[in-house]
Amino acid sequence: MIAVFTALYPEAEPLLLELRRRGIQMKRLPSGSLTAWRSKDDRYMLAVTGSGEIAAAIATAQLLTQFPADFAVNFGTAAGSDPAASCFRICKITEETTGRDFYPGMVWAAPFAERALVTVPHPAAAPAGTVSPSLPCLTDMEGAGFFQAAARFLSTDKIVLLKAVSDAGETAALTPDRLRAICAAVAAGVTDCLTGLSEAVDAYRAEEETIEEPALMAKAEADLNGSEAMRLRLHRILCWQALSGEDLRKLVRKLYEDGSLPAGSKKKGKEVLEQLERDIL
């Protein structure tokens, strides 16, 4: 599941509309302290956190506790000197109040240029400038809080921040309609990125080799009648066999057919284990 967090409803609404336009039905979660939607196929969640670092951190932690996610994405607006409604991926976050830096992983492909982000406790009066000549900065009020909370649940390589430039520090001009319009302008690109992440999750899962017959293994381990260390050792032998492409079913069946399992005692279980190690390792 891709869990997306925005600070304000006008930032979430264009994404909801874009997802719906693509046939992804987002259903509002039963009313609680969190305003959130979940797609019918469980691929996406979208939550409105409220503005500020603490609100972002609380809502992120709350949602990720209830709904384990594969990726956490923070999407929203930020001040910066780039043209309004241009969208960027954040590669470095600085929390202004503490001076701490955070680094979201940049492993997954995203069709956006990179910017650094400074998270400040108040609406930015001016853009934060640049980190280096090649890395201009944006300013927001949530990024660092969101990141720290999400990093409690997910690998930092599964945390993504996407920011659309709203203004160059003229916060008075930022009406809900203006925010909505800016986010609507980038919603298609952001949604492409979200669907890309979702497809990556599918591909990643499909690629993982799975060990066959977990029930068969569990039964054999229980029938060994041994200590936890013995059970673990048999488990590793069976895993190694299965992952090496050997026929696990045949091996276990043979153990039952020749009377090795179930082992009547711990002593017998130990003998079975030793024999197995001699035979196949």
Partner: protein, 338 residues
């Protein structure tokens, strides 16, 4: 998995503030014009982050360029073969490796798959000089990495050759799976700089060393090194145990016997897979699907290995090479050396 899900390798380069101004750093960056540079205060801010996804990172390596105030020279670990040298050291001017072998201890050792390069080697050279003042030094320079594989980026081997040229008493080993003959052709030949090629059966190379050059190419590179009279070592280490291992190692030994002249090989090294239990625990957690990680190893003195089977495996390999190379030029790692 489709590569388009991932950013290309070295798309992002994190540069430590204190390394940014170094000429060596600028030289490396100049070779990566497409890279996006992200300034950082300390390499550990990125490299040591908690909860990194090493598997995903290995599909899209980031580069971290750093500077280290302390020399990066260390005494050899007990799990390493010292080839009869008492003053056995290794350097670690690069952390992590582009080849990403499934059995590599680096996967258990570091919290990240990203590559850290300490761009200025001068302090390491100075430390080696200090050690040389006390006596001969045997130094592995391609240790927590494969230096030859990234030579086009770093130029480190060239720096080591220049350093070693007038340092009697210094013997250097360059351990590698790299098959870059063009590189071998441009480096000078020094009698105390040994190229040690790790050779694995084709099946092992295909399954567990997916990003390293295939066996054929490594053998061709070793042959080429021999033809240039580059001191050559062949490493059958780590030997792995898997269904049908004997036949695979028999085929490997046959290829070596067919393709290389033993007179052009300085020595060989044979050892079975072993790893500290701490690193094995990390590997198991990170690679639950890996047969190598899941093998029920025998643990002794904090080292997981094939136990008594290690001696059987090394003896088998030595037997396959008997008659081609004399035993006094074979070096073994076995349980007793722990």
């Amino acid at each position: 998995m489709n590569g388009t899900f991932f950013e290309p390798a070295f798309r992002y380069v994190y540069v430590e503030d204190r390394a940014a101004g170094l000429p060596q750093t600028r030289r490396i960056l100049a070779k990566l014009p497409q890279a996006h540079v992200i300034p950082i205060r300390h390499y550990k801010d990125v490299f040591n982050r908690s909860r990194q996804d090493i598997t995903a990172q290995s599909r899209s390596l980031a580069l971290i360029l750093a500077d280290e105030p302390d020399p990066r020279v260390y005494p050899g670990a007990p799990v390493c073969q010292n080839f009869g040298n008492d003053a056995f050291y290794y350097t670690s001017t690069v952390m992590n490796c582009v080849y990403d072998c499934e059995y590599c201890y680096l996967k258990g050792m570091y919290p990240s798959a990203n590559l850290v390069i300490f761009t200025d080697q001068s302090r390491t050279f100075a430390e080696v000089d200090r050690l040389l003042a006390r006596g001969p030094v045997y130094l592995c320079i391609s240790y927590d990495t494969d230096l030859a594989a990234i030579e086009p980026l770093t130029g480190f081997l060239r720096e080591w050759y220049a350093f070693a040229q007038d340092r009697p008493g210094l013997t250097i080993e360059i351990r590698t799976k790299c098959a870059n003959q063009a590189l071998l052709s441009t480096l000078p030949v020094l009698s105390d700089v040994i190229w040690a090629f790790t050779l694995s059966p084709e099946k092992v190379a295909q399954r567990f060393e997916k990003k390293a050059p295939e066996l054929e190419r490594r053998l061709a590179a070793a042959r080429y090194a021999a033809s240039r009279h580059i001191p050559l070592r062949l490493c059958f280490d780590p030997m792995l145990r898997f269904p049908g291992w004997e036949e695979e190692y028999r085929k490997l030994a046959q290829m070596v016997r067919d393709e290389l002249d033993p007179e052009q090989v300085r020595d060989i090294s044979i050892g079975t897979f072993r790893i500290s239990t701490q690193y094995l625990g990390q590997m198991r957690a990170r690679q639950p699907e890996s047969p190598l990680a899941q093998y029920p190893y025998t643990v002794c003195g904090g080292v997981a290995s094939y136990g008594a089977k290690s001696a059987e495996m090394t003896a088998y390999m030595a037997g396959l090479l008997d008659g081609w190379m004399s035993r006094d030029r074979m070096f073994f790692w076995n349980e007793r050396e722990e």
